[in-house]
């Protein structure tokens, strides 16, 4: 039952994401200053710090409630494009998780997939537009593919992390078609998309906290 994702496991993931966002805040902002408006790190850090505080203030919350709390907090605190997009990601995950209590690996993957779908609709973004979707979509594909092939959650999340990072790195070769970077046209080529970088941190945080291999640290 080590692949069960209960409230403590979800909290560990969300805190780890907040920690990684804080640690990489300057890096994310530096990426954003090249093709955006130099605020992705500070905005995400402010939002995830608030989200971490919100879930700490509600120790009894079930997985679905936790995800909803994070989504609402991000919508209310981040602003910009990242607020509605990350907010929608967690709100759709919450809706998919429902009130059923702990998630199994397949349930977590399904929730993450629902979150990705929500981001694509809210942002009107496709894979290849040079956005966070370019990291999240291959990660969800890898996670679902590995789980369907019988892999354990930690193995599947490791594959998802690799896929997310590859998707993130590939954004550097693309022309931005969404968001502020799109105003630069061809000049956006050669720069990694900041949203794909923060989305990769989200997947990395999951690999570090969820599944068997993470038990020792969680």
């Amino acid at each position: 039952m080590t692949d069960t994702i209960d409230s403590p496991a979800l909290r560990a993931w969300l805190h780890e994401f907040a920690r990684r966002v804080a640690e990489n805040s300057d890096h994310l902002t530096a990426l954003d200053s090249e093709i955006g408006d130099a605020d992705h790190g500070s905005n995400m850090d402010r939002g995830m710090a608030a989200a971490a505080a919100a879930i700490d203030s509600d120790p009894g919350a079930e997985p679905g409630q936790l995800l909803k709390l994070v989504g609402r907090t991000l919508v209310s605190t981040v602003g910009g494009a990242a607020g509605p997009l990350y907010g929608t990601l967690f709100l759709r995950m919450a809706a998919a998780a429902g009130d059923a209590g702990p998630l199994d690996a397949a349930g977590f993957a399904k929730a993450l997939h629902a979150g990705l779908d929500g981001v694509m609709v809210r942002g009107r973004a496709e894979v290849g537009d040079k956005t966070m979707v370019d990291a999240l979509a291959p990660a969800v594909d890898a996670l679902e593919g590995e789980l369907a092939a019988g892999a354990a959650l930690d193995v599947a999340l490791a594959a998802a992390t690799t896929a997310a990072a590859a998707g993130r790195d590939a954004t550097a070769d693309r022309v931005a078609r969404k968001g502020r970077a799109s105003y630069l046209g061809e000049r956006s080529i050669g720069h990694q998309d900041p949203g794909s970088a923060s989305a990769t941190l989200l997947v990395e945080a999951a690999a570090a906290t969820l599944g068997t291999a993470a038990d020792g640290q969680a």
């Binding site: 200053s33 910009g80 509605p84 968001g179």
Partner: protein, 340 residues
């Protein structure tokens, strides 16, 4: 590469409080015109809401002042939702501004076409609809520097936003219904175009360093209002040559009727002195006339900016009698005032 950190010399307390502290000062300077609702993070008309009047609400990232908070007051906006510097306000703020402006006649949202602002206003409009408030949204996308291709984010909302806020505000003040106010706002969007030139970058207080560096002798063509680089970096040239280029960019896209009366707005980006703006306006006015349109209304100054960036943007609106009448209608805001 990231620009080298340079010392930031700005009037600040905690950089993270820059937006709030500035709004406190705005309210202190204009107590009869507007009020700062710090709990909701919005600015509202001091004498509002006006019973029976359609509410006119806008908002966006801070750093572009006087847009939008400087345009709150009789004849223009009922409420504005300012976000963090260069970052959209959140739906809670926009919803609070919507409720503050609503007296039952509905509310017009004036939204600049930036990905974040469009999404946050959409989420707020969904929440307002749940609360029973009729909301119409008008998206401003007047920036000719961005190619408007399918599947892209489309053109930015720039100086045209100021004109939409003034004209829609006047229509609402006259007692027009929500659909009529939205219709005249959309008519302005259809007939307005802008193009900006940047002579420097700018420094957001929290980042503490310039967004980009510009080598000596180079400028950015086709900038927006967030201190970001433009469409193209080119060698600096004379004001006369730049004016010709700006007028050509704007009029080629707008394609006004020969001899058309236009409103020409030249807005500084925040760091260009009035003397330079007027020098440039003189060239623009001549170029516009040579191109066959007549600037019958003119506005030169800092109206939509990018912190302390040097540079300026030309906005041209093709006018008709109704738009002229609404433009000339009385307005009393901290940044625009005539007739009252």
């Amino acid at each position: 590469m990231l620009p080298t950190a340079t010392p930031m010399r700005k009037f600040l307390n905690d950089p993270g409080d820059a937006v709030r502290d500035s709004l406190v000062g705005l309210a202190a300077a204009h107590p009869g015109v507007l009020r700062y609702d710090a709990a909701n993070g919005i600015v509202v008309r001091a004498d509002g809401p006006v019973p029976g009047k359609v509410g006119v609400v806008s908002g966006g990232g801070s750093g572009c002042e006087p847009l939008h908070t400087g345009f709150v007051g009789p004849g223009m906006l009922d409420a504005a939702a300012p976000g963090q510097v260069f970052s959209s306000p959140v739906p809670d703020q926009i919803l609070a501004a919507t409720h503050a402006a609503d007296t039952g006649a509905g509310v017009l949202h004036i939204v600049k076409n930036f990905t974040g602002e469009v999404m946050n206003f959409e989420m707020a409009a969904e929440l307002a609809a749940d609360d029973g408030v009729a909301v119409e949204a008008v998206v401003v996308n007047d920036d000719v520097a961005v190619l408007d291709r399918p599947g892209t984010a489309g053109r930015r909302g720039l100086g045209g936003t100021v004109l939409v806020e003034k004209i829609a505000g006047a229509a609402a003040e006259r007692g027009q219904a929500l659909d009529a106010v939205a219709a005249v706002a959309r008519r302005v969007v259809a007939r307005v175009r802008s193009f900006g030139v940047g002579l420097s970058s700018c420094t957001p207080p929290v980042a503490g360093r310039p967004i980009f560096t510009l080598p000596d002798g180079e400028i950015e063509l086709g900038i927006g209002i967030s201190g970001e680089p433009g469409r193209q970096r080119v060698p600096l040239r004379s004001a006369r040559e730049l004016a010709a280029l700006m007028v050509d960019e704007v009029l080629t896209d707008l394609a006004p009727a020969p001899g058309a009366p236009v409103l020409a707005m030249l807005s500084g980006m925040g760091g260009t002195p009035s003397s330079e703006l007027h020098l440039l306006y003189g060239e623009l006015d001549r170029c516009l006339r040579e191109a066959g349109v007549e600037p019958v209304r003119r506005l030169v100054g800092n109206f939509i900016t990018s912190l302390e960036q040097s540079g300026a943007a030309l906005t041209v609106l093709e006018l008709d009698d109704e738009l002229i009448s609404l433009w000339d209608a009385p307005v009393h805001t901290s940044a625009l005032r005539w007739g009252m």
